[in-house]
């Protein structure tokens, strides 16, 4: 599979990283294994699985490195994620980009570096797998190939966890996975004083669809809505199945008005789309939605509660509408 690397979409890259929900988590065997193998096969004194967020590189696993994170400004891995190919420094003391870097002039006295981008299936470089030496070194092509394989194995592990977070019917996030991500995104929104909105949407008269056409048709209607939402959502938004025919949308960097526009677009598309139910027949359905935007110091449960109140209001006032909780 050939994936186009997305090097100029920092917001999408950060969202891809946060989706894995792996930053600041404890040591884990799969990643410890990989750094052990890198150290053993490349005979390097230092190596790491480095994940690069807004301001820092954080080491999910490391060998020979005394700190668990460094600023991006001095990080070699920041350079590694800016390219598709392996990033190689043979002699940092002679490299104008690194000769004055404190990681070179001071402890740990890096001299050579081989970094392979950790590329997600969508093409985002979320970090790198790196091998570091304290002496100048020409990394051989077979060493680069070994590192590339290990880097892909790191992504295999991360991706495998993502599959457990996806709802089998719709491809949306499971409720558990969505709530975990939502809590993290809300903290982030508070920390960086960013806007964030949450929407709850529900298929109108869904019981009637199931009772009239049967559960397989009900499932198709659910899938149809989920596909529509997944197509509409940006890389930085999080869409989950909250239960049955109810879905949740976490819309990052976005206030009430823009969120309402997004949900109105989905509502109208869904209402206007004939949903195939087999045998050449189609049916039309609609949704109701409630939206609330994050308030100061607010966390997930009250935000969900406010959005749910507006969903209830949308249902009570005739369905097929989007109602916003105005702050």
């Amino acid at each position: 599979m050939t994936t186009h690397t997305k090097l100029n979409d920092e917001a999408g890259r950060l969202s891809a990283l946060h989706r894995y929900d792996v930053l600041d988590t404890p040591e884990e065997q799969p990643f410890e294994n990989v750094v052990n193998l890198v150290q053993q096969t490349l005979q390097v004194p230092m190596c790491a699985v480095s994940l690069v967020d807004e301001h820092r590189q954080w080491f999910k696993a490391r060998r020979g490195l005394g700190v668990c994170e460094t600023g991006r400004d001095i990080s070699f891995c920041t350079h590694a994620i800016q390219q598709t190919d392996p990033f190689i420094v043979n002699n940092a003391e002679e490299d104008p980009l690194f000769m004055n870097n404190p990681l070179v002039t001071e402890d740990p006295h890096i001299r050579s570096y081989l970094g392979i981008p950790l590329q997600t299936p969508e093409g985002y470089n979320i970090g790198s797998l790196c091998g570091i030496d304290i002496k100048p070194r020409d990394f051989q092509p077979h060493e680069v190939e070994i590192m590339k394989s290990f880097a892909r194995i790191v992504v295999d592990e991360l991706e495998l966890r993502q599959i457990a977070s996806s709802d089998a019917l719709t491809g949306a996030m499971t409720r558990r996975a969505w709530c975990e991500i939502a809590e993290g995104e809300i903290k982030r929104a508070h920390r960086y004083k960013r806007k964030l909105s949450l929407a709850i949407l529900d298929i109108d008269h869904f019981k009637h669809v199931n009772d009239t056409y049967g559960h397989p048709v009900g499932d198709r209607v659910i899938q149809f809505l989920a596909n529509l939402c997944i197509d509409e959502k940006r890389e930085s938004d999080f869409f989950g199945r909250y239960g049955g025919e109810e879905f949740v949308f976490l819309i990052t960097e976005t206030g009430e008005e823009e969120s309402k526009n997004l949900l109105e677009r989905i509502r109208k598309n869904f209402q206007d789309s004939p949903i195939p139910i087999g045998g050449g027949e189609t049916i039309h359905c609609s949704i109701s939605a409630g939206i609330a935007s994050l308030r100061e110091k607010e966390f997930l449960p009250p935000l969900l509660e406010r959005a749910d109140q507006r969903l209830y209001q949308a249902k009570e006032t005739g369905r097929n509408r989007v109602v916003v909780y105005s702050n």
């Binding site: 799969p30 052990n36 590339k148 394989s149 194995i153």
Partner: protein, 79 residues
């Protein structure tokens, strides 16, 4: 050499045959086997012995398999 690499990967991942894997995981498993194959080829080029390669593959695969088993259970519980 590709055949040898393939044999080593098959040997390492033979225990997968004992697992009943949901469709949702098949692509991930194929991907992982491809990546182990690339690793095995690169290690052969590096001049590693078959025993060394098997140990490395086994170590890389064992943690993936552990996670895979966990995921199969999670998916089973959610269905």
């Amino acid at each position: 050499m590709p055949e040898r690499a393939n044999e080593l990967v098959q040997k390492t991942t033979a225990s997968l045959n004992d697992l009943r894997t949901p469709v949702a995981l098949r692509r991930s498993i194929e991907q992982h086997q491809d990546n182990l194959l690339s690793l095995a080829k690169a290690l052969l080029v590096a001049g590693k012995s078959e025993q060394e390669i098997l140990e490395i593959l086994d170590s890389a695969f064992s943690s993936y398999k552990k996670e895979l088993t966990k995921t199969i259970v999670t998916l089973g519980n959610e269905q």
